[in-house]
Symmetry: C2
Subunit: 343 residues, 2 copies
DNA sequence: TTGTAAGCGTTATCAC
DNA sequence: GTGATAACGCTTACAA
């Protein structure tokens, strides 16, 4: 049986209060008391029970990170950074997957079952804005939204400038002389912010170049997966007017696109240039290596942790939005440049 | 302020005992009592506090999954399956990263700080067996080891037959006529089980074919990363006696190898065949697509959850070892076959 | 079947 | 500076 505070107190012949003081690093404890208590702790191999502490303090030391699927490289890389950043400030991270399930997403957001298990939630949502508003009704728990751009002053956001990111990707394709530029990742049926914003950026870049976005060059993708990218690209390549470039709304879509282009007997970038968004490591090793818009995941993670801890400390902290920087990374899939992999 | 059991009791004019009975689905509650209580619960939007429940019952409903790095695709895919399998039986999953840090691994294993935060730990270790034995000293918490092969009867194992897996990969290269077969992923400095077993399988297959494993064909890799695979392959290709095939101890290493072969102006599989271990999705879309030894991740996850829940229910359950099935998957990187990606 | 009350292991409010 | 002691919200003997 594990030793408790009381056991230590008995052994050290002091009160539990004193032991608690020593354990939680209280200042005003005499040196000899401290020594006595520490010996008893040592002897009994005492370790504080975090559950009891939580019941008393209301703090769990745990954050929830909610993502659609943890094995999507972008989310895996984000999770890694988040876990690391959280550990730096003494937090652990619990990961929940929504699996693209609206109901599950809502349940996680309203805290359906999870009561006081977390001190805060980092949410990378698919959910619509309208639905988010409804969430507001629910019991409030510190919440930071990741990746959304729209900001309504209600929640902290660590945003990505999706419009600009997609614009930059498209503008790069235009700059290298492409004229039939398709896009993969739209979700016309749904009210999701990310695909809408990326489509807006894509179309804005085309219009700025005096081009009219062609309806059938805008391909939907449900899961932003390799399979989605593969399938959508196949369809695009069957068009009479075959595109000479594709903007993929995620690197994973782009990986599928590259393979589809190869399977069709075509070359990237010569026949079809491809660019993605995210900058996952996979794209640095693929053939061709993938041009992309790099999102600063460490920044997002650090900022998310900073926001959530601030809100936990003071729930009345006004909600703020920070936008993560992004940069265009040109690799072989658009310009034939070699990556720098030699160490 | 969140409503408590007592609030509900007061409102429904019943005892807390009755409310608790209703909440935890106790059988013998009269219909009218139940109705009354449920109305009060509804009105107060009451939700049980899991922390208080945990303090009382000793069960947290949380499992820890400990992996080196969550953004390594194999672990990400495993985590996905584990989280799903855990959710099916009412468990949540906390993810901890050891980051290849021995001390951190030991700390997580001995439960350094985490006291009673988890009901059990699923551990995918790098740690040596000798060190594992020492862990035994520590306070016991239900533990299931993932991926290790050695079984000492002390812990539950969901094992991979690493020797056989590496053997099968090597045998396949021999079967397609390769004679200068290198391996990447050994860790001669360390006492890690996985690389040792895979090297054993590699060497056994070579010997069975009447060949002598060449020392300088066995390349170390510390992190099993793309970068490690790239670097090791570069070095191999500089050898006077250039290998015509490479067994990579992980698919990620193989992705780096493929890129290095391409950068060296060589072709896979014509000049150098490559095979990995894991069967991550990335390898189905790479160019060339990657031959590999497929590990049954869903099986591992399901079995791990089954073992840990059994041990939580009865700590005296004898430790067992189950071995996950693996299968050779032949793709372009060894035999030029096309993958089947069209849906 | 339902009520009363004793903890679970902490922290925090009092005194001294 | 240290010692009693009352919560934190729940489950569960033990009674009724």
């Amino acid at each position: 049986m594990a030793a408790t505070l009381r056991d230590v107190a008995l052994r050290a012949k002091v009160s539990v209060r004193t032991v608690s003081n020593v354990v939680s690093g209280y200042e005003h404890v005499s040196a000899q008391m401290r020594a006595r208590v520490e010996r008893a702790i040592e002897e009994l191999d005492y370790r504080p029970n975090p559950v009891a502490r939580t019941l008393r303090t209301g703090r769990t030391g745990v954050l929830a990170l909610v993502v659609p699927e943890i094995d999507v490289p972008y989310f895996a890389e984000l999770a890694r950074e988040v876990i690391t950043a959280a550990a730096d400030v003494g937090y652990r991270v619990m990961i929940d997957q929504t699996g693209h399930d609206h109901d599950r997403e809502r349940e996680l957001l309203t805290g359906g079952d999870r009561g006081m298990l977390f001190d805060g939630v980092l949410f990378s949502p698919l959910v619509t804005r309208a639905e988010l508003l409804a969430m507001q009704e629910s019991r409030s728990m510190p919440l930071v939204l990741l990746g959304e751009h729209e900001f309504d002053g209600r929640y902290d956001h660590v945003a990505i400038d999706n419009v600009q990111a997609a614009h930059d990707a498209t503008a790069h394709l235009l700059a290298i002389g492409r004229t039939r530029i398709a896009a993969i990742g739209a979700q016309p049926q749904e009210d999701y912010a990310t695909p809408q914003q990326r489509t807006a950026g894509y179309e804005r870049a085309l219009r700025a170049a005096g081009m009219t976005p062609a309806e059938d060059y805008l391909r939907p993708a449900v899961h932003y997966s390799r399979a989605d990218g593969y399938q959508a690209t196949r369809e695009l390549l069957e068009r009479a007017e075959r595109p000479d470039a594709i903007v993929c709304y995620s690197d994973l879509l782009a990986m599928g696109a590259l393979r589809a282009i190869y399977d069709a007997g075509l070359r990237a970038p010569e026949d079809v240039a491809v660019i993605g968004v995210d900058d996952i490591e996979e794209g640095r090793y693929s053939r061709p290596s993938l041009s992309t818009v790099s999102l600063d995941t460490p920044f997002i993670a650090r900022e998310a942790i900073a926001r959530i801890t601030a809100r936990i400390a003071d729930p009345e902290t006004p909600a703020v939005q920070v936008t993560a920087p992004h940069t265009l990374v040109v690799r072989e899939s658009t310009e034939g440049r070699s990556p720098d992999l030699g160490r």
